[in-house]
């Protein structure tokens, strides 16, 4: 362990014919992404307070919380349909209220919740208050969408600049498929979609691009190296050659995110689960989506002179 590596992730010189599964890969991915888009419209994302607006307050009561009493006190303060739930422990309460008509009203409500809690269970401590007005939440949402959109655009331009356009299109289409699946995952798991989640999705985009760039880089190199190899074999060869790296990096990012998912606390565990999902999706899409797209787009363009298939080169031992 301290000098020679103990283990290899996959053996060297694998010859897996990934491109045989290209249709299966793309179809599965397209189906999953379509389902995710469907889920996005119904039932839709569980929007967090950042994007929906409203009030979330976390309180710790002195002794076990009496939820019925708290709810009654809130209603007595004229707050309609307050969401009151247990949060973590018996004495921890989470109170959620919908957006109020005006910003001013939202502010007043925060005060009324304090009063109600003090009446229902004296000695209650407020641990956290988040109140976001409707106009702010709207802005935060659109800024998040802009950040996502512009990032995708910049990645497209960068890859276009550094590689052929086929690579750029392949990468961005794959990223879109990745992002839609991450959104589907968010809908299914009911994790709250907030600003931190936008951060998670952007990180997935960054990570997934990184993965694609490494595989593409190898393809570009091999295109120069084996001038006559058919594109299909060349792509398979490139994926196999970079397989250890692809899985190795996925493993380290996965290992780094895992503790966060397990003990990161309420705010970060959702973020970390989405990351873990994104790493899985991003890694598999590099192999099963990005590469086949390149094969379709580039069959006659990247390799015009591919007349006769040539046997892949023998590794020099």
């Amino acid at each position: 362990m301290f000098f020679r590596p103990l283990l290899r992730i996959v053996p060297d010189h694998t010859r897996i014919k990934f491109m045989r599964g290209r249709f299966a890969g793309i179809i599965v991915s397209a189906v999953l992404s379509s389902l995710s888009i469907g889920l996005f419209f119904y039932p839709g994302l569980n929007l967090g307070i950042d994007f929906k607006g409203g009030i979330v307050m976390e309180a710790r009561t002195d002794g076990a919380a009496d939820f019925a009493k708290i709810r009654a006190a809130l209603e007595a303060q004229g707050l309609r349909e307050p969401g009151v739930q247990r949060f973590g422990s018996d004495s921890q309460v989470l109170i959620k209220l919908e957006t109020q008509q005006t910003e001013k009203a939202t502010e007043e409500v925060v005060g009324r919740v304090r009063t109600a809690l003090e009446q229902a269970q004296p000695g209650t401590k407020l641990l956290r208050t988040d109140a976001v007005g409707a106009s702010v939440s709207n802005e935060l949402f659109w800024n998040g969408i802009y950040a996502l959109g512009i990032s995708l655009l910049m990645i497209l331009v960068y890859i276009w600049f550094r590689f052929e356009w086929q690579f750029a299109v392949g990468a961005v289409v794959t990223l879109l498929l990745d992002v839609t699946k991450a959104i589907g995952f968010l809908v299914v798991t009911r994790f709250e979609f907030d600003l931190v989640m936008i951060g998670a999705i952007l990180t997935i985009i960054g990570y997934s691009t990184n993965d694609k760039v490494v595989v593409y880089d190898r393809m570009r190199e091999n295109l120069r190296k084996y001038k006559t190899m058919p594109l299909r074999d060349l792509i398979d060869l490139s994926i196999n050659e970079t397989l250890n790296r692809t899985l190795g990096t996925s493993a380290t990012v996965f290992l780094a995110s895992l503790p966060l998912a397990l003990f990161g606390g309420a705010t970060l565990s959702g973020f970390a689960w989405v990351m873990l999902f994104g790493i899985f999706v991003g890694t598999s899409s590099s192999i099963f989506i990005a590469a086949p797209i390149l094969l379709f787009l580039g069959e006659n363009r990247l390799r015009r002179d591919a007349a006769a298939p040539v046997a892949p080169p023998k590794p020099v031992r």
Binding site: L6, L7, E107, V132, T203, L268
Partner: protein
């Protein structure tokens, strides 16, 4: 690729040592005041505190400007002898409409109003502050966009100043007050768990005026007489009093205000002092109105309406009005700090208690530690000696990140901690790329030295390409994100930069030195 000049070696090691030195301030308090002691700040979500996003009510600013304009217009029209006329305000359109039944006089009206135009801005940017236009049956006066932006800027700047003064009066340590966008102010209050009192202080415009009253008017009438308002009493709900619109003395003419107790009654009062202008005006008004009541009006509510017993020439006065110790103190704070140009509304509030912040730090540190150990073990198991070099580089990477974040005086938030963790996971990617490449080159039959050389060279462009895209994505997040998420974007972008250094320079230096010292026949890949 393999040769490192002495200078280069020295600079790489120097950068590492500098990183260690610069990250030290986070562990100790400054031993001497003259040392540059920059540290990472904990975000409000980790240390506890309140974040308020406040919006300046621009419609009030516009309305006040239109009021002033209507007043001026009235005077111009009187001078020009136009009569009768009506002036109406359309606040939403930033516009006044002046109508007169005699259409022939509209040109005179427009001419009279043109006198009011002044320019705002300087040089090429100078524009008229109002636009005057003829319509079929009237003349409109519209505030120009430049003038509006100008007003808005002024109002926000002024509000920030007043907000700062009010908060300073409450004794909150290290408040951060900054402008955001066109009309918003961010107020960050570390350590303030319950911002209720501060919200109350900031929620009042606190415009105080001294005005005369009209004892003959009947406040129960539906419409007040011209030039007067029916204003409610602050402490007697339902009761109103007729107050003249004309402001005799303004709160802006106060130099000081202190809460105190009246010597005879023991009642809480606010004692105030006027500046020289205020003293003179107050003396004139009180001399002329002995025996009549005047009203002290705060934000359209009458605090008290005492009868003037004698001319007040000393420039000192006392406000009484059923105060408690707390409300007298609050009022004196508001008066000392000055009036806001327009009301502020809280549009976003986030407060975190210190308990929750401490929990978050614990959870974050635990995850960070565990993730770090996992990655280190993985690298050791799968990449052997070169993996351990990468691990050393990883530790240095963490130290450099802390150093740079300290230099930037950056704020560490909970998502920021996640960013550090992800950076650690992604950082070894560069080492993995290099190692895999060297291994391939060895299998291709190259000598150890040649394989290392080729491995480094070929892996380099891949490393740059893959990091550049991630860098771009997070710069976007920083630009468009807000609050704690920005902390995430900052840690990741800083992490990408430090990673490029540690993984490609430091780890390479270690590998090359190891090779030079041992000259092995085979590489441990």
């Amino acid at each position: 690729m393999l040769y490192f000049s002495r200078l280069k070696t020295a600079s790489i090691l120097g950068a590492c040592v500098l990183g260690v030195l610069l990250s030290l301030p986070n562990l100790f308090a400054a031993p001497a005041a003259w040392l540059p002691w920059r540290t990472i700040h904990l975000g409000l979500d980790l240390r506890g505190g309140s974040y308020l996003l406040m919006e300046v009510d621009m419609s009030t600013v516009v309305k006040e400007r239109l009021d002033g304009l209507a007043d001026q217009a009235r005077r111009s029209l009187e001078r020009a002898g136009v009569r009768p006329y009506t002036i109406t305000q359309q606040v939403a359109d930033n516009r006044l409409t002046i109508k007169t039944p005699d259409a022939a006089k509209l040109d005179d009206v427009a001419a009279a109003l043109r006198e009011l135009v002044t320019t705002t801005g300087q040089g090429i940017g100078a524009r008229p502050d109002i636009d005057i236009a003829r319509t079929a049956d009237g003349v409109t006066v519209t505030l120009s966009q430049v003038a509006l932006t100008d007003r808005a800027n002024q109002a926000v700047q002024q509000s920030i100043e007043i907000v700062r003064r009010r908060i300073d009066e409450t004794g909150v340590l290290d408040p951060v007050i900054t402008r955001q966008g066109q009309d918003r102010i961010v107020v960050q209050l570390p350590g303030v768990e319950d911002p209720e009192r501060i919200k109350q202080l900031l929620g009042k415009t606190a415009r105080m005026t001294f005005r005369l009253t009209d004892e003959n008017a009947d406040p129960s009438a539906t419409v007040p007489p011209p030039g007067e308002d029916f204003l409610p009493f602050a402490d007697k709900p339902g009761q109103k009093i007729a107050v003249r619109k004309r402001v005799e003395v303004d709160g802006a003419n106060l130099t000081d205000a202190r809460a105190g107790q009246n010597g005879q009654t023991g009642e809480w009062v606010v004692n105030f002092t006027f500046d020289s202008l205020g003293t003179k005006r107050f003396a004139d008004v009180s001399r002329a109105n002995v025996g009549h009541p005047f009203a002290i009006v705060l934000d359209d509510k009458v605090i008290s309406a005492p009868v003037i017993r004698e001319a007040i020439t000393g420039g000192r006065g006392q406000i009484s009005g059923n105060f408690t110790a707390a409300s007298a103190t609050d009022l004196s704070v508001l008066l000392r700090a000055g009036a806001l140009p327009a009301p502020l509304t809280v549009v976003e509030e986030r407060s975190v208690g210190p308990e929750l912040g401490a929990d978050a730090i614990r959870a974050g540190a635990l995850s960070l530690g565990a993730g770090f150990v996992f990655v280190i073990i993985f690298m050791g198991v799968f990449y052997g000696l070169f993996g351990w070099f990468a691990n050393i580089a990883l530790v240095v990477n963490l130290i450099l990140m802390v150093a740079i974040l300290s230099m930037l005086n950056a704020t560490l938030t909970l998502p920021g901690m996640a960013g550090i963790l992800l950076t650690l996971g992604m950082a070894v990617d560069a080492n993995i790329l290099i190692n895999e490449r060297i291994r391939e080159e060895v299998h291709n039959g190259r000598t150890p030295l040649n394989a290392m050389e080729t491995g480094f060279r070929r892996a380099r462009s891949t490393i740059i390409d893959s990091n550049a895209t991630a860098f771009l994505a997070h710069v976007m997040l920083f630009i468009f994100g807000s609050g704690p998420v920005r902390g995430f974007a900052v840690t990741i972008t800083v992490g990408i930069v430090t990673t490029l250094f540690t993984a490609t320079m430091l780890a390479r230096l270690m590998m090359v030195r190891w090779y030079a010292a041992n000259r092995p026949q085979t590489l441990p890949v």
